[in-house]
Amino acid sequence: MANDSFIWDKLKIGDKQSFELIFKIYYPQLCLFANRYTRDFDMAREVVQEIFIYLWENRDNLQEKKSVKSYLYAAIRHNSVRRVNGQIKKRLEIEDIPEENIKADFLDEIEYAELQEIIYTTIESFPPQCKKIFSLSRFESATYAQIALKLNLSQKTVEAQMTKALKIIQKKFDEYLLVLSVLFFI
C-alpha cells in the first residue's frame, strides 16, 4: 500500500475539504472490499459510510502516524463481519478494532478489491458500444453471434471489440500484478 501519511495529517487537523476528497477517492474500492464480506452491496456501502463518520468523529484519538488506509480496511472488515453475523440489529454500531486486527492477514482480499475496482473502472471507461458488447458477453453470457444479432453488427466487429477490450483489461491486470510482485517479491 502506497504511502498515505498525508491522509492522517489531513485528519488530524480536521481538514474537512480534504476528507471529502479522500472519501471520494477511496469509497468505490472500499465498498467493493466490504462487499466481499457482506455479499450485499447496499450493506457494504452502509458499513463504509459509518466507518468514515466514525473516523472523522474520533480523529482526535488517532495516535502516531498510522496508515489510515490499513485502519479503514481492518475496521471495515471487522464491522462487515459483525453486521453480517447479525451482531448489530438496526443501525450500524461501529466497534473500534482490536490492535492486532490491523495486521493485514486478509491482504489477498484487499488486493482482489483493488484489482476489482481497477477492472470495473476500466470497463466503465470503454466507449459505449464496446462496453455494451463486453457486458453482454461477460455478464449476460451471450455468444458473439447473439451479440452481433442483438446490436445489429457484424460478428467480426464484435470479436474485434472484445479482443481489444480484453487486451486492455489484461494490460491493467499485468500492470497491477507487476507492482505487487515488486512489493512482495512474488
Binding site: Q17, Y27, F41, I119, K164
Partner: protein
C-alpha cells in the same frame, strides 16, 4: 494464456479442447494458478459489477457529511470542490513586443517627502504556443511562458525592482541586497533578494503557485486595492506556496498531497518539499505530468501548443497519464495519448476535438 479463454473457462463456456488447454496451463506452474485466482476473484459477479456501476459517490458523500458531527471551534472557509469547468481559452492574436504607454506616479520609499516621478513601462505579451526569454540590465533573466504578460518599468526605481506578472514566468534574479526584486501578481506579492523561482499566476486559473528552486523569497497577500497585508510568508528552496483565489478552485491529487495545511481560500499556503524541477520544466520546452487526469493536462497542452482542445465525453476526462513531452508536435502528442486509451480526434483550424471511440478501427 489469453484472458479470453480464462474468462470463458470461469464462466463455463469453453469447449472440451479449450478446457483441456486451460487446465494444462493451470497445472504447469504455480504462478499460473495464482494468476488465475486473481482474475477469477476480481472479475466478480454480474451483481457486483452492476452495483458498482450504479454507485453514486457524490450522493453517498452528501449522506455521510450530514451525519458527521463536527468538533466545534474550528472555523474554516468552505472550499467547494467542483468538477473542473474548463474555460474556453482565447488565443492571443497579438504579437510579442507591445509597448504599453502609461504614466504612473511613484512614491519613493526612502525619502520622507513624497516625490512624484513619471515612469514608463514595457509590457511583454507572449501568446499561447510560444515562450520568451529576456535579460534585464541588472543581470536578471526571466523566461516567460505561453499566454503570459509581464509588465516592467523601462528603468527600475531607486529602492526596489518591480515587475507585474499575469501568467507564468521563471526568474533568475541577480543579487542586489539594497534593491529587493518584487514580482506582483493579482493577489500575491513576492519579494526576492537573489534567487531562482517559478511563478504561476494565470488570470483564468483559480490559484497562484510559486515554486522556489534556490535562494529565499517571502510572500505577502495583497488586497483588491493593492495594499499588502501584514502577514509575511517565507519560502524555502524546493517548496511551493499556493494561493487559492476563490472557493471553486480545482485541486489535483498531487496538490492535495503537497499541502499539509487545511485548504483555505485567500490564504497563502506553504507546501511540503516538492520536486521543484517539474514546476520550471517548461523552460526547456518540456511538459511533465505524473499520473494526472486528462482534464488537468489539457489546459497545459493548450497553452504549450497554442491550440484549443475540446473533449466530448465525460469518461475520457478521468483517464490518467504519465509522461514527458519534449519538442514534439501536437499531433504526435495526441497519438501518444491514444496509445493508452483509444479515442478519435478531429482537427479543425486551431481546434482539436477529442471524442470517445464509437467503432474501433484495427490498423495494427
Amino acid at each position: 494464456m489469453e484472458l479470453e479463454f480464462l474468462i470463458k473457462y470461469i464462466d463455463g463456456f469453453t469447449n472440451p479442447e479449450e478446457t483441456r488447454l486451460v487446465e494444462d496451463w493451470l497445472k504447469s506452474a504455480p504462478k499460473n494458478a495464482y494468476y488465475f485466482e486473481k482474475i477469477k476473484q476480481s472479475l466478480g459477479s454480474v451483481k457486483d459489477y452492476q452495483a458498482f456501476s450504479r454507485l453514486d459517490v457524490n450522493k453517498d458523500w452528501a449522506s455521510v457529511e450530514k451525519r458527521m458531527k463536527d468538533i466545534s471551534g474550528k472555523n474554516r472557509t468552505r472550499l467547494v470542490l467542483h468538477p473542473y469547468f474548463k474555460p474556453l481559452l482565447r488565443i492571443a492574436s497579438v504579437l510579442i513586443l507591445a509597448v504599453a504607454i502609461s504614466s504612473v506616479y511613484l512614491f519613493l520609499k526612502e525619502t520622507s517627502k513624497p516625490v512624484a516621478q513619471k515612469v514608463e513601462y514595457n509590457e511583454i505579451i507572449v501568446p499561447v504556443g510560444q515562450k520568451s526569454e529576456i535579460s534585464l540590465a541588472d543581470g536578471t533573466k526571466i523566461w516567460i511562458n505561453a499566454g503570459s504578460k509581464l509588465k516592467l518599468p523601462t528603468q527600475f526605481g531607486v529602492g526596489s525592482r518591480d515587475v507585474w506578472l499575469e501568467g507564468e514566468a521563471f526568474f533568475n534574479v541577480a543579487k542586489n541586497a539594497g534593491k529587493p526584486f518584487f514580482v506582483h501578481t493579482s493577489n500575491v506579492n513576492i519579494k526576492v533578494l537573489g534567487t531562482s523561482f517559478n511563478v504561476r499566476a494565470y488570470p483564468d486559473e483559480k490559484l497562484i503557485e510559486t515554486t522556489l528552486i534556490e535562494g529565499l523569497v517571502s510572500l505577502q497577500k495583497i488586497s483588491k486595492e493593492g495594499v499588502p497585508e501584514d502577514e509575511i510568508y517565507t519560502l524555502e528552496p524546493n517548496h511551493k506556496a499556493v494561493y487559492f483565489k476563490c472557493k471553486d478552485a480545482y485541486i489535483t491529487e498531487t496538490l492535495l498531497k503537497e499541502i499539509k495545511k487545511p485548504l483555505t481560500v485567500r490564504k497563502i499556503l506553504i507546501s511540503e518539499p516538492v520536486n521543484a524541477e517539474i514546476a520550471s520544466s517548461w523552460k526547456e520546452g518540456k511538459l511533465i505530468f505524473e499520473n494526472e487526469k486528462l482534464v488537468d493536462i489539457l489546459p497545459r497542452l493548450e497553452r504549450y501548443y497554442g491550440v484549443n482542445i475540446e473533449v466530448e465525453g465525460e469518461t475520457l476526462n478521468e483517464v490518467r497519464y504519465t509522461g514527458t513531452i519534449k519538442k514534439i508536435s501536437i499531433e504526435q502528442t495526441i497519438k501518444a495519448l491514444q496509445i493508452t486509451t483509444p479515442f478519435d480526434y478531429e482537427i479543425k483550424e486551431n481546434s482539436i476535438i477529442i471524442k470517445s471511440k464509437k467503432n474501433f478501427a484495427y490498423g495494427n
